[in-house]
């Protein structure tokens, strides 16, 4: 029983760590192969493949969203923190929490309207021109992607609280103000 629990939590740990990363790498590989296949088909087999462009385009979008969620986890998103990190610590924490609340609000907003968009896709025909698949499937990624990002953002704060709130939340290591981190 006990080993089962540790197996589960180990598995969960891997999923937590690798989920978006692995998917993004997968879609990037699909993309690279598709575009390359287009060249190979043209010169080696003397034919034109019609579906590679569309499939690689869809893979690109999925890779970007998965990468974006990974970037939330890694605090890699571009933000201008020069103002925030120069504030006194309590104020800095207040401002960064406020700006992350704005970010969270935007994520939720995009999930909401991503779903509304999806309902339109669900009701109306929209067939992709070369793969002939219904666009609602690939385009679901907008709602999925922002959901993942919202979850990852919440996770950053969960860990920040759990680990004792030493750093400024949501800001990568190299941008942390050195002097304000209490020595404990």
């Amino acid at each position: 029983m006990k080993t089962e629990v540790t197996h589960m939590s180990k598995l969960w740990g891997i999923v937590e760590q690798r989920f978006e990363e692995a998917l993004s790498c997968f879609f990037l590989s699909v993309m690279a192969c598709c575009v390359f296949a287009q060249v190979v088909a043209r010169y080696v087999f003397n034919t034109a493949i019609t579906w590679t462009e569309e499939l690689s385009g869809f893979s690109m979008v999925w890779a970007v969203y998965m990468g974006a969620s990974l970037a939330v986890r890694e605090r890699f998103h571009v933000r201008i923190v020069i103002g925030v990190v120069s504030l006194p610590r309590p104020l800095a924490i207040g401002v960064i929490i406020l700006s992350d609340l704005c970010w969270m609000a935007f994520n939720i907003f995009m999930v909401w309207y991503g779903i509304e968009y999806l309902t339109v896709l669900w009701e109306k025909v929209y067939i992709s021109p070369s793969l002939h698949i219904d666009q609602k499937w690939p385009q679901m990624i907008v709602a999925i992607g922002y959901t993942l990002m919202a979850v990852r953002l919440a996770q950053i704060y969960y860990l920040w609280f759990k680990e004792g709130r030493h750093e400024l939340p949501g800001i990568p290591k190299e941008s942390q103000p050195q002097k304000d981190v209490p020595n404990e």
Partner: protein
């Protein structure tokens, strides 16, 4: 207050507060949609469609190719060639760094990646030969920025997409300014080394080691030949060229050099995934661009500038100063996609070639890589060297001068940029 002002204020306040750019552009766009009564689903639709243009795929593909080439041992071979060329001169390792970056720039699409690829090898060697850490970091940072000018270039691709320009033309236009700035960097770096009596203990120049180094680096030299030759020979489109570069790098790294293993390949993919994630910023920005049309924004900016002056040279100087200022704190991708749609129509009406404006824009972005607080190359060089970003940014100051000269040159003598593309494809009316 006008609707436009509200939108701008929301964007500026959120950005300064530290809201990630994707959200601050997104929220400003949502406010703009609300004010002119357009459904919010516009943001959801561009959330997908903005990432679909086929040429956009070029960017992650070139990032991946650059990673594989670096990890697969190509950067080392290029440094050997540079070493055989200039190893005997004063400040040889500084010169090797600049040359190595110029070579690697022809494989890689990104400035920070070029700094990482060459700097991670040459900076430690410079420190061993008692170069000052400040100089060692600064020369790698500044020469690495060439990665975004000498083709292939991700920033030029982004510009091409936003401005609907031809990628091959822009690539050709980047060659002369890229090499010119590289040569100036050699002069400045050499001068600093002579003044401080750095290095110069390498073997005297002779042909045999150079030929040996070139022979050993032939696969690395083959990459730009394949990429650019393929594009200009009409064999494949730039997007396809990027995928060819990926598989070429894989082949050389795994089969020829045998330096690539699964962990490294996965690492390269993971890094590319993170960088691709940043492209999400395009989605609200393109939605915002569509709204800028509803608000007649380019017209407003144009009127404001033209009220002040009609002289294209002065206008370009103003834009240059503005871009360099923006580039101090803004990431270059964001700079290009936010400001090109607004400023390009203005300069085109003044008779400036969009290709020239693209190279000009990217040159200001390169300066942005070298200025704190937000300077991609500074971060990397500082981390490799183990000193602070402030320290590097002081060291980099004299090495920014070549970029400024390059900028002025292209404002005053457009042929400097346009000669090559016009020669190849014919001048445009």
């Amino acid at each position: 207050m006008s609707d436009t002002m509200w939108v701008v204020i929301v964007f500026v306040v959120l950005t300064v507060m530290g809201v990630p750019l994707i959200a601050s552009v997104g929220i400003a766009t949502a406010v703009a949609l609300f004010l002119i009564d357009i459904p919010f689903t516009l943001l959801s639709q561009t959330g997908f469609t903005a990432l679909q243009p086929f040429p956009l795929l070029t960017i992650p593909l070139f990032i991946l190719a650059g990673q594989l080439m670096e990890k697969g041992g190509m950067s080392n071979r290029l440094i050997q060639i540079a070493n055989a060329l200039v190893g005997a001169y004063k400040g040889s390792l500084g010169l090797v760094t600049v040359l190595g970056c110029m070579f690697f720039a022809a494989l890689s699409g990104s400035g920070p990646a070029t700094t990482a690829a060459i700097g991670s090898v040459t900076i430690p060697s410079m420190l061993r030969e008692d170069y000052s850490p400040r100089f060692a970091a600064a020369v790698a940072a500044s020469a690495g920025a060439l990665g975004s000018m000498i083709p292939p270039s991700n920033l030029l691709i982004i510009y091409a997409l936003v401005a609907e320009e031809s990628i091959p033309r822009l690539f050709l236009a980047g060659i002369v300014p890229g090499i010119f700035v590289g040569l100036l960097l050699l002069v400045v770096a050499g001068g600093i080394c002579v003044m401080n009596d750095y290095g110069g203990k390498g073997e005297r120049f002779s042909w045999r080691p150079l030929i040996k180094a070139i022979w050993e680096g032939k696969w690395a030299i083959g990459a730009p030949v394949l990429i650019l030759g393929g594009i200009y020979g009409g064999i494949f489109t730039p997007t396809e060229a990027a995928s060819v570069a990926v598989f070429y790098a894989l082949f050389v790294g795994v089969v020829v050099y045998r330096e690539l293993n699964w962990t490294q390949i996965y690492g390269a993919l993971r890094f590319t995934a993170l960088m691709a994630g940043l492209l999400l910023m395009l989605t609200p920005t393109i939605a915002f661009g569509q709204l800028a049309a509803f608000y007649d924004m380019p017209q407003l900016v144009e009127d404001a500038i033209l009220q002040f002056t009609q002289n294209p040279i002065i206008v370009m100087c103003i834009i240059g100063v503005f871009y360099i200022f923006i580039g101090t704190f803004m990431e270059s991708l964001a700079q290009i996609i936010l400001f090109t749609p607004v400023l390009l129509p203005v300069v085109v009406n003044l008779g400036i070639d969009p290709v020239l404006f693209g190279v000009f824009t990217v040159m200001t972005c390169e300066i942005g890589f070298l200025t704190p607080p937000m300077g991609g190359n500074l971060f990397i060089a500082a981390r490799v060297t183990g000193i602070s970003v402030e320290e590097v940014s002081i060291g980099v100051l004299p090495l920014i001068v070549p970029y400024i000269i390059g900028l002025l040159f292209m404002i005053l003598v457009p042929e400097f940029v346009l000669y090559l593309p016009d020669f190849f494809y014919g001048a445009r009316p």
